[in-house]
């Protein structure tokens, strides 16, 4: 039972990150491979603020700074690295994203050096034998995802996001500023990444320059499993992957193969349903 709860909680973290991938893909039609490194920056922002001392005020401040840092970074990266490439071949955008990823990792290495730094940021204690941090992750993760779903489906701006995702030119003709919507998408995705960074640090209290790489690639896998571009798909894919990971880790005989099993899930699902679980094939417009 606690394995499942742990898995759901880790899954919520993957889902939060996967949402960033999937929303950006759906709306800007690009894979933002620097997304994992946004998580890393969020983690370092938290770490740096916590150096101020140990108090509830600093903790709250650290959370806020972490989220703000990620949002600003996400928007700035989109504005200066991706927007000039609007209309360029997808390959150019993809390579730029990988470049941004390396750049962020290298900058982090310059500032913080390569060694892992401890971050103690978890809520001590257990409830019904489950870590409080795990419960918090699950609760906050669920609330954030429900809020995002409501936002996308029931607000004017959310509707504009769907419109831009489906047909950017037609959305412009409706008076929707697609550049603004794309910036907003990066901002939301990055804020979710910051949340994920904070929760991830509660589980693994060490931060280094490649901190975001593994959760990033797993969340990307989750997004593809769920059907890239689909918001509920990213949530389901993330939770699925988190549960699979924790179950594998709890069985000693297969624990060493956990990562291999997770990525195999992707291959199996893509073989059975190439668009991912909730992905739809879009009709090509002529």
């Amino acid at each position: 039972m606690s394995t499942i709860i742990d898995g759901l909680s880790l899954g919520a973290i993957y889902a939060l990150i996967a949402l960033g991938y999937t929303m950006v893909y759906g709306i800007a039609k690009m894979l933002n491979f620097a997304h994992g490194d946004i998580i890393m920056v969020g983690a370092y922002a938290l770490y740096s603020t916590l150096l101020l001392g140990q108090s509830p005020v600093v903790s709250v401040l650290a959370i806020i700074i972490s989220i703000v840092a990620c949002v600003v970074l996400g928007v700035v990266v989109e504005r200066f690295a991706y927007r000039p490439l609007r209309g360029a071949t997808p390959l150019a955008v993809l390579i730029t994203a990988i470049g941004v990823s390396y750049m962020l990792q290298s900058i982090a290495q310059l500032i913080f050096k390569a060694k892992s730094r401890p971050v103690s940021f978890s809520i001590p204690g257990t409830t019904f034998g489950i870590h409080n941090s795990t419960i918090l992750t699950l609760v906050v993760g669920t609330v954030v995802m429900v809020a995002l779903t409501l936002f996308v489906n029931y607000t004017k701006t959310g509707r504009a996001m769907v419109a831009v995702s489906e047909d950017r030119a037609a959305a412009e003709l409706m008076g929707i500023n697609s550049n603004f919507i794309i910036s907003l998408t990066f901002a939301i995705g990055s804020a979710l990444a910051a949340c994920a960074a904070i929760f991830y640090l509660m589980q693994i209290p060490l931060v280094n320059p490649t901190f975001g790489a593994m959760p990033g690639i797993k969340a990307f896998t989750a997004a593809v499993i769920g059907g890239i571009g689909s918001i509920p798909g990213a949530m389901i894919g993330g939770v699925l992957l988190g549960v699979v990971e924790k179950i594998c880790l709890s069985i000693p005989a297969i624990a060493p193969y956990t990562t291999a099993i997770e990525f195999s899930c992707l291959i199996v699902i893509l073989l059975v349903k190439p668009t991912g679980l909730l992905g739809r094939k879009r009709r090509e417009k002529v």
């Binding site: 004017k156 509707r159 504009a160 769907v162 419109a163 489906e166 047909d167 030119a169 037609a170 959305a171 412009e172 003709l173 409706m174 008076g175 929707i176 500023n177 697609s178 009709r283 417009k285 002529v286």
Partner: protein
């Protein structure tokens, strides 16, 4: 003064000159038609007016303002609305949500209900199907939706790009009747069409476009009776 004025418009796709210096005017209250064959540059002109395409020389004025380098999304607020070629409705959203997006640039909630009811009474089928996913509508219904969506913002100028494309003759009539009605209610219309006979029959003024150049202009009925136009576009 002309509501829309296009002066010496040139558009290139890479090295290819698609539009080679086109000028025309649309006066308030008129229906103006641009006719021409496939590849003549009709849609390119539409996109250039709408600022979806930006590489161009020449000038475009709308309502006295220079919109040559305006942002596409700012034009709706200024009173220009377009029914794009191939309808381009939001297939995954419902009919109602599509109409809602047509009103995106406006804020007045009460006026929204008013406009919505106006659209529903223009095309009752849209009311019947308001909760249906737009991608499941027939081609004709989608065209009605695209037109209603464009009209939601109460535009001064309505641009229509090939509204008859792919429709049955029955729907073509419905759509053209609606264009006339919309015009009578005070909206100026710029219409791009391959169906030259239909377009000329409702146009106050028309221009013939051939491979990026205006070759002829006149009133709708003048061009309908013009021998060369008859031969080239009206089947002899």
């Amino acid at each position: 003064m002309a509501l829309l004025e296009v002066k010496n418009l040139e558009v290139n796709y890479g090295l290819i000159k698609a539009i080679k210096g086109v000028s025309f005017e649309v006066n308030e209250g008129e229906i103006v038609a641009l006719i021409g064959a496939n590849g003549a540059g009709k849609t390119t002109i539409m996109h250039a007016i709408n600022c979806i395409l930006d590489k161009m020389s020449g000038k475009v004025f709308f309502d006295g303002k220079d919109i040559t380098h305006a942002r596409a999304h700012s034009l709706v607020g200024m009173g220009m609305s377009q029914v794009p070629e191939g309808r381009r409705i939001f297939q995954e959203l419902t009919v109602f949500e599509n109409l809602q997006l047509g009103y995106y640039s406006k804020k007045d909630k009460k006026k929204f209900e008013e406009k919505l009811n106006e659209m529903y009474s223009n095309f009752p089928i849209l009311k019947e199907r308001s909760k249906q996913i737009a991608g499941t509508l027939s081609g004709g219904e989608q065209q009605m939706l695209a037109m209603s969506r464009a009209l939601m913002s109460s535009p001064k100028l309505l641009l229509l790009d090939e509204p008859s494309m792919g429709l049955s003759p029955l729907y073509v009539n419905t759509i053209f009747d609606m264009i006339k009605k919309v015009n009578e209610m005070g909206t100026t219309v710029l219409l791009v069409e391959q169906n030259a006979k239909k377009a000329l029959s409702i146009a106050d003024k028309a221009y013939v476009l051939e491979i990026g150049k205006m070759t002829k202009s006149g009133t709708g009925s003048e061009l309908l009776n013009d021998d060369s136009v008859k031969k080239a576009y009206l089947g002899g």
